[in-house]
């Protein structure tokens, strides 16, 4: 493994340095049919789950085959995507915001051979490499974060629960039987690198134990005032501690005031929260980002905690399946999950989803909490 230089000279880092050039320009990568008809599309249609046609003013058509992808992706897999795109799509491919892969062809006759090719590709372990779906009134791919594969603050894994949940709802990735589209998202901690707080169903990693204090190293590793300032509930204060006869500057945590956000750990590595029993999953439901019919909504906490059941998170995926089935059975056409819950009332939501309502689900965090309590005599028995 001999070091091979790129040409970079560490002695003279500024020599020939190129900076601030930004991304590659989007239109370098457009397939010809896209470049030609940009801004002149007339309408689209789903021909079957996972297959779209867009028709342009010129009469040109572009057929898109959408495939689910694990966003964690090897170069082997990307090279296989390239091979497919070369074979069927003139060397063009794109990804969606929800980690789906889209293969586009400019003629209907090219669709079936592409579908056949994709259907035949499986990983050694047996799973599909390119399941077609993720369109219309179905369950699309889960957007998610890193989890245990690469992050330092997660309270759950990301890729594992996503795989488990998508296996559970796979039939609905490939069908259009939902009342409206269902967007599921996962964030492995409260930092939420993604928009899980406005998803039909959000899977959120959460800690339940206050930080441990690594007093011996805390003052060396952290800026104590920053750690204190990081706490949204003012639960952290400066403290002097004695370790092995040595007086050290450190912090003290008022555990009663901690709501386990982990913001202190973000600022100070000597305050880890992660814990096998403490960590797990919160399920939130009823959010959306679209302005369609009703305004965008935040997801609401509907299950306060499910333990991390690696490797397949059975209770998490079963709970999600349960919510999706109740919604599919009861909601009206076009009604998003949150709109359904609001129409039938949250008391009915818990009944129909067969979920327990516990004290954890009543908001008690600051002023906005008050606005979530019921202030009317209207309710359902």
């Amino acid at each position: 493994m001999a070091f091979i230089s790129s040409g970079y000279n560490p002695e003279k880092p500024m020599e020939d340095r190129i900076t601030d050039i930004g991304p590659r320009k989007f239109d370098e990568f457009y397939p010809p049919v896209i470049a030609k008809n940009k801004g002149k599309w007339l309408y689209h249609e789903y021909l079957q789950p996972g297959v779209l046609v867009h028709v342009a003013e010129s009469g040109d058509e572009v057929y898109t085959v959408r495939c689910g992808g694990a966003r964690l992706m090897s170069t082997s897999h990307i090279r296989e995507i390239c091979e497919i795109a070369d074979k069927h799509c003139g060397g063009h491919v794109r990804w969606t915001t929800r980690n789906n892969i889209e293969f586009m062809v400019d003629n209907k006759s090219k669709v079936q051979p592409l579908l056949d090719d994709l259907a035949g590709r499986k990983f050694k372990g047996g799973s599909f490499k390119f399941p077609v779906g993720g369109t219309g009134a179905g369950v699309s791919n889960i957007v998610h974060t890193q989890g245990w594969i690469h992050c330092h603050t997660p309270a759950t894994d990301a890729s594992g629960p996503v795989k488990a949940v998508m296996d559970e709802v796979f039939a609905d990735f490939q069908s259009h039987r939902m009342p409206a589209h269902v967007r599921v998202s996962l964030a492995c901690c409260l930092n939420m690198c993604g928009a899980v707080h406005c998803s039909d169903i959000a899977i959120l990693g959460y800690h339940r134990k206050p930080p441990m204090l690594d007093h011996e190293y805390l003052d060396k590793m952290c800026e104590i005032p920053l750690a204190i300032a990081a706490c949204p509930t003012a639960a952290i204060k400066p403290a002097k501690v004695e370790i092995n006869g040595q007086k050290l500057n450190s912090v003290a945590v008022n555990n009663e005031r901690c709501m386990f956000c982990g913001n202190c750990y973000t600022m100070c590595p000597s305050m880890p929260l992660a814990d096998t029993e403490g960590d797990g999953i919160v399920i939130m439901a009823g959010g959306k980002v679209s302005n369609r019919i009703s305004a965008p909504k935040f997801s609401k906490v509907v299950v306060a905690f499910i333990p991390n059941e690696a490797p397949r998170w059975p209770r998490t995926s079963a709970t999600i399946k349960q919510i999706i089935e109740a919604y599919a059975n009861d909601a009206r056409k076009y009604e998003r999950l949150g709109e359904w819950a609001e129409r039938i009332g949250w008391e009915r939501f818990f009944e129909k989803c067969e979920l327990d309502f516990t004290h954890h689900l009543i908001d008690d965090f600051r002023d906005p909490a008050y606005y979530t309590w019921r202030q009317t005599s209207q309710f359902k028995f």
């Binding site: 690469h150 796979f170 993604g194 928009a195 406005c198 019919i293």
Partner: protein, 438 residues
Amino acid sequence: MAKHETPMLDQLESGPWPSFVSDLKQEAEKRAKNAAGVEFQIPQDAVEDLLGVLELSYKHGRTHWKHGGIVGVFGYGGGVIGRYCDQPQMFPGVAHFHTLRINQPGGKFYTTKYLRELCDLWDFRGSGITNMHGSTGDIIFLGTTTPQLEEIFYELTHKYNQDLGGSGSNLRTPADCIGQARCEYACYDTQALCYDLTNEYQDELHRPAFPYKFKFKFDGCPNCCVASIARSDLSFIGTWKDDIKIDQAAVQAYIGGEIAPNAGAHSGRDWGKFDIQKEVINLCPTGCMAMDGKTLKINNRECTRCMHCINVMPRALHIGDERGVSILAGAKAPILDGAQMGTLIVPFIEVEPPYTKIKEEVIEPIWDWWMEEGKNRERLGELMKRQGLQKLIEVLGVDPDPRMVQEPRSNPYIFWKEDEVPGGWDRDINEFRKYHQR
């Protein structure tokens, strides 16, 4: 033979959904065989060790990645995330395993030529493992060592005309929806605006000078496919001012059942015959639609452009022609004080290159205010909450508009300014007492 036993991860290979474990294993095998004769610049068994450390996390129910480390490329303060394993003796292949964020092209369109170039670079100088894509939108190169960072940056910029994305307290890599490239709903060219602003603000993107992260996202229409309204400090949502265009013959075709409603999105179930009254007119949030005999009428002045009718009948209804964006400010995830949705601050602005008004009258005044007043790690939305929407309106120098609020305040605790009250606040108590005994 795998380097580490992974009995728990192995259980994630079954089931229909693409298995990331199977993919990691195929990459580990590819690196072990090295049929392509790559002169790996980081440990050949990095992916084996990645599987190993992940298995250990599955066993422990805890991550084994340390808190970051300050690594990067010269002159940039973002784009690289330092990552070290907390069990480096057990998993030396991933002891140092840094992330690079590569600024994705707009709309996430690629040629296979370019993707292969990236793959070649990443097989050679990194782990061969990526995210396509990270939540913010970047291509994520997952796992390399410190000495490779400058080498990768040099190759990206010199050979591939490609820059890094943002991380830390700076402008994060802006992201867009597919927009006009392949969507008839797009009210502006999301990719052009995204690309222009990304290039205009390269300094802000690469050199952290902000109180905290700052995100731009570009949605072509109010359907918000990139979720800008929920997760960007400045959310650009396409909209129009004039009338929805109606093709009455196509409306009749929907009514007659010749065209499937909602573009066929409900094909998996028998919802009965399409009923325009029930499915479109009655669901219109403003009640601004009606059938007048065989003609669909829309009172466009009352329309709030929610997209429902257009989504249901895309062949009959089309967005208007007087197009632009609405700009909403301050969305963010819950850390710290709870999640915030974007607040409408600019109801309508035209989107024409070189976008001078958007830059000089919206983005830059907001940044000046936030950089002056924002506390360490305070997002724009939190500053807005702390100082009030009035303050932001003042910063923008625009007139208050009822479109900016859901409803007027229900308390009368108005912070009147002295110059708003005739005579000001300096008064003579003795003069007052002449008329009002103590």
